[in-house]
């Protein structure tokens, strides 16, 4: 096969073989690297998957239902913690106040979804130019606190919302870390 043996030809053949090896190595590494992104998703929707209006009119001591969900696409099982916070909506110039409520802990396999319907009932009274919230009944459990909300004159109402923050367990530090992924309920307008 190799009838002509001169240095130029040997050099060309060596370069060719090395190029093939290099190119195939790069292709192999590229193919071996997982292409799928790993992340979490959190969402808040209405019961039965209905899309919620951006603002919900809320009356005191009336029961409402929202659905919160989490999806794990981290490529392995995760131990999650979903914290629930009730806060004044960060709108216009009204300062935000918040209170921690129930937190949910659950295990999720890769590509698995955790969803839960959450019923809530806000116990509040109207006072002069503010709303006083005495507590919230969340999934049957009553959380007592005392928050007041100033009237948002720009938007003409008292706006609050639920915020769900996702935490995941870190097996190195043996503690939950914030994923910085969260979802919030629609603005709850408590003027009515």
């Amino acid at each position: 096969m190799f009838l002509v043996a001169d240095q130029e030809m040997l050099l060309a053949q060596t370069i060719f073989v090395c190029s093939i090896i290099l190119i195939s190595s790069f292709v192999y590494i590229f193919m071996s690297t997982p292409q799928k992104q790993s992340f979490f998703q959190v969402w808040v929707i209405g019961p039965n998957g209905a899309i919620l209006e951006p603002v919900l009119a809320i009356s005191s001591n009336q029961s409402y239902l929202i659905s919160v969900g989490v999806q794990n696409t981290m490529r392995h099982i995760e131990y999650c913690r979903l914290t629930t916070k009730f806060q004044s909506a960060p709108l216009s110039n009204v300062s935000t106040t918040s209170v921690e409520l129930e937190d949910f802990r659950f295990f999720l396999l890769d590509n698995e979804t955790w969803a839960r319907n959450i019923s809530f009932e806000i116990d509040s009274t109207a006072e002069d130019a503010m709303i006083r919230i005495h507590g919230i009944k969340l999934d049957g459990s009553y959380f007592m606190f005392n928050l007041t909300s100033a009237f948002d004159s720009d938007l003409n109402g008292f706006f609050w919302q639920f915020r769900f923050d996702l935490w995941a367990f870190n097996t190195s530090s043996f503690d939950f870390y914030s994923t910085n992924i969260w979802a919030s309920s629609p603005f709850l307008n408590m003027t009515q």
Binding site: S32, E78, L109
Partner: protein, 170 residues
């Protein structure tokens, strides 16, 4: 004399049994013991999760282990509720159930991890073999082509080169 010894023996045994039972009962109603059990159960569940995640990352199917982890969490939640309500013996019982199931999960997860690590990675070896065959084929064809090109150039060079007779006659 024998009778007295027998009665003394029975009384000693009964007193000993009563003491052990009393200690056991006292231990069960002890909040610090319930708290220790809760901590232990929580640590066991975390350890079970860590091992399950290792097995999962190694490629094992851990769906059953995940179901068991959820049960452990329920036990732990029951233990916490019982502790908060002052039912320490119930709390200890639930904690111990959580520890027991966690230990089973840990054992199963370790087994799965070892199994996955020992299993030859067929997909990887197949890909490497595929690349080797393709590379070899391309190299053979390429080297043959290079050789042909150089051979043709060499032949053309020989054809164009003036022959010895021409040089002498010229």
């Amino acid at each position: 004399m024998r009778k007295i010894c027998f009665v003394l023996f029975i009384v000693t045994v009964a007193l000993g049994f009563a003491t052990v039972m009393q200690r056991s009962m006292a231990n069960q109603d002890d909040p610090s013991s319930a708290r220790d059990n809760l901590l232990q159960a929580n640590n066991s569940m975390i350890q079970a999760f860590v091992e399950t995640q290792k097995a999962n990352s190694a490629g094992a199917d851990v769906s059953i282990l995940k179901e068991n982890l959820t049960i452990v969490q329920d036990f732990l939640e029951n233990a916490r509720i019982a502790y908060d309500e002052g039912e320490f013996s119930t709390s200890i019982e639930s904690s111990q159930q959580a520890v027991s199931l966690s230990n089973e999960i840990i054992a199963e997860a370790i087994k799965l991890t070892i199994k996955e690590n020992e299993r030859p990675n067929v997909a990887r070896y197949t890909t490497i073999a595929y690349f080797a065959v393709v590379d070899f084929s391309i190299c053979v064809v390429g080297l043959y082509a290079i050789n042909k090109i150089y051979k043709r150039r060499h032949d053309e060079f020989l054809k164009k080169r003036p022959k010895v007779g021409d040089v002498l006659s010229g």
